[in-house]
Assembly symmetry: C2
Homo-oligomer: 335 residues x 2
DNA sequence: TTGTACGCGTTATCAC
DNA sequence: GTGATAACGCGTACAA
C-alpha cells in the first residue's frame, strides 16, 4: 500500500493524497473525505523512510546516556521519553558509558541516523580538556544539542541544570546549623556537576567560618557504586582516626553506604551521625531512618529539556541556559 | 555530500561507489582505494533514509517497555541496548505504561517506523483475555517479536524467560526447610510471570504437606511501589491478627517494605522473621541485614533475546522458547 | 570490472 | 482545487 495505490482507488492524484495526509493545503471536503475513506479502508500508513528522505527528518530525538541502569538516569530517561513521545517525537537510545571515544562514536551514530536533535544526559559529556569537546561542536554544527545537568557554552547547545552549588551549600549549612562540625564529604565523580557540589560544600563551611579540611573530602574511586563497598570505604576512613559527625554525599547510594557504616560502627543516626544524600531517589526510603536528601527537580529539568528542544526545532529563540533550584528534603537521617 | 559527488570526484559511477560502500561485489583494488580515499577525505556518510528506503530497513530494533524507571527494566534496557548496538542495531525506545491501548499504539508506532523487530520487556504485554492480544499477532505478521519474561505461542513470536515457577517453589521450600511454617506471600502483579510465581509458592507448600491459606496470600494493589506504603500494608496484615514467620515476595522492593515492617514491629530478621525477595537487585544490599533474593539471570535472558532476534533476522531457525533457571542467593535475611 | 537506468514512496513546485 | 513531475539518495538488475 503506497500513495499511488490510494490515489488510484480514490480517483485522484498522489499530490492530493499527500495534501490530505499532511492536513495543510486546500482540498475540497468531498475529495478529502473520499481519500480518507480509502486510506482507512486500506489501513494505509505512509512510509517513514520515504518521508524522511524528503523531509530530512523522521521526527526522532537521540538520547545519549552513559548508563541506562543507573536509577537516576533511568528516571530521567523515562521522563524524557514520555515528554518527547507526547509531542510526536520518538527516541533513539544510545548508551555509551563514560569513555570519550565511545561517546564520540555514539554521537556519530546518532548523526548518521539523522536524528533531529540530541539530549545528552548527565554531566559526563563535557570533557575537562576542552579539545576533547570537539565532538560536541561538530554535532552542534548539524543539530541542536540539549545538555541535562551539563554546561557547555556553544552555539546551538542548550543547557538545563540544577544549581548543585547552592543546593550543596545549603545542605552543608543545614548540617552546621544543627550543631555538626566535622562533615565528611563523599563524592563519586569530578565532572562539572561533581565540582559544583564540592565547591558548594566548601562554600557552606566557609560561610559559617569552619575551615575546609582535606582529610574530610573523599573521592570514592570505584567505577561501580556498590553499597557494601561504600560502607567499607567509610569504615576505613573512620579507622584512620578521622572523626566526623556528619556525612554529606554527592549521590544517594553513597549515603546508603554511610547508613550501613553507621550500623556496623554502632553509631546511631541521626544522634551520633547525620547523613544527607543527593537526588532524593527511592534509595532514601529504603534506609532506617529514611535519608535526608537534595531533590534536584529531575522531572522539571527533563520537561525543560524537551520544551527547549521542541522550541529550537520550531525555529524559536530559547534560553541557552535554564537553571533550577534544588531543595533539601528533610527526613530522619538529620537532626 | 551524496553518492553522486563521491562518484564524480573519484571518477567512477555511483554503482561502483555503492559496491565499495557495501563491501560485497568485485571491485578492483585500485578503484576501491581511490573511492575510499575520496570518501574519507570528504567525510562521506551514506544517507540512512535513502538506504532505508531501498533496503526496507534501518537496522533498528524497537524496545517496548512499560516503564523505563523501574530498576529491573532499566537494567534490562541497558543489557539489551548494549548487545544490539554491539551487533550493529540501534534501539528505538517506547515506554507505554501498562494499558492495552497505549501498548497497542506503541507497537503501531514502531511498525510505522519500520523497525526490524521488537523486544517486549516484561510479562505485562500478554493479555489474559486472548482477544486483547491481536495487536501482537498483527505485529508478528510483519516482523519478529521477542518476549522477555513473557509467554505467547504464535508464529514469529519468540519467548525468553526465567522459570519463575520453580524458582519460587525452591524459595518456598528453603523457608520451610529452615523451620518456617507461616509464609506470607506478597505479590504485585498477576500477569503471566506473577501467576507462575504464585503457583510456585503454592506448590512449594504442598510439596512439604503444608496447607495453602488464603489469608497468607496478599496482593499489593497500589500501582506504584513505595517502600513506606508497603511497610504499612504488611503492618496492617499483622494487626489483623494474621501470624507469619516469613515473607516471600514477587519483587525486591516489596521485601524492602517487609524489612521496614520488621523494624517497626520490633521483629528481628532473620530470627523472628525470614524475608526473601525476587530479582536480586541493588535494593537487596541496602537493607540490614541484606536480603536473600532470587536471581532470575536477567543478563543471560537479555543476551538470549538479542541473539534470538539476530538469528531470526538472519533467516536462521531459532527456539520459540528459551527457559533459564533462577537461583536463590542467600543473604542475611534468612536462616 | 564497470556503467546505465530504474525503482523505492514521499514531498514540493509548478502549471492548469 | 487538482494534477503532473521533479527532486530526495541509494541499491541493484541489466547491459557493456
Amino acid at each position: 500500500m503506497n500513495i499511488y495505490d490510494i490515489s488510484e482507488k480514490a480517483g485522484v492524484s498522489i499530490a492530493t493524497v499527500s495534501r490530505v495526509l499532511n492536513g495543510s493545503s486546500r482540498v475540497s471536503p468531498k475529495t478529502r473525505e473520499r481519500v480518507l475513506a480509502v486510506m482507512a479502508q486500506q489501513g494505509y500508513v505512509p512510509n517513514a523512510f520515504a518521508r524522511g528522505l524528503g523531509l530530512k527528518s523522521m521526527k526522532t530525538i537521540g538520547l545519549l546516556c552513559p548508563n541506562a541502569s543507573d536509577s537516576y538516569l533511568a528516571q530521567a530517561l523515562s521522563y524524557l521519553e514520555r515528554a518527547f513521545r507526547g509531542n510526536g517525537y520518538d527516541c533513539l537510545l544510545c548508551c555509551t558509558g563514560k569513555k570519550l571515544l565511545d561517546r564520540t562514536k555514539g554521537v556519530e551514530m546518532l548523526l548518521s541516523k539523522h536524528v533531529d536533535g540530541i539530549v545528552l544526559m548527565g554531566s559526563t559529556f563535557v570533557e575537562e580538556d576542552d579539545a576533547g569537546n570537539n565532538y560536541l561542536r561538530c554535532a552542534a554544527a548539524q543539530i541542536p544539542l540539549v545538555l541535562l545537568n551539563g554546561s557547555f557554552a556553544f552555539d546551538n547547545v542548550y543547557c538545563v541544570l540544577c544549581d548543585d552549588y547552592h543546593a550543596t551549600l545549603e545542605a552543608t549549612q543545614s548540617l552546621l546549623d544543627s550543631g555538626r562540625r566535622n562533615i565528611l564529604y563523599l563524592y563519586h565523580s569530578s565532572n562539572f556537576s561533581g565540582k559544583k557540589k564540592l565547591n558548594g560544600y566548601k562554600a557552606g563551611l566557609q560561610s559559617r567560618g569552619i575551615p575546609v579540611r582535606d582529610e574530610l573530602i573523599r573521592f570514592y574511586t570505584e567505577d561501580k557504586l556498590n553499597v557494601p563497598d561504600v560502607r567499607d570505604f567509610i569504615l576505613a576512613i573512620d579507622r584512620e582516626g578521622v572523626a566526623f559527625d556528619a556525612v554529606l554525599t554527592s549521590e544517594d547510594v553513597l549515603s546508603v553506604g554511610a547508613a550501613k557504616y553507621a550500623r556496623v560502627a554502632n553509631r546511631s543516626v541521626p544522634e551520633s551521625l547525620s547523613i544527607i544524600g543527593y537526588n532524593n531517589s527511592n534509595f532514601c526510603l529504603c534506609c532506617e531512618p529514611e535519608l535526608t536528601s537534595v531533590d534536584n527537580k529531575l522531572e522539571s529539568l527533563c520537561n525543560q529539556c524537551v520544551s527547549t528542544m521542541l522550541n529550537v526545532l520550531a525555529g524559536q529563540e530559547s534560553p541557552q541556559k535554564s537553571l533550577f533550584m534544588g531543595e533539601l528534603v528533610k527526613r530522619g537521617s538529620t537532626l
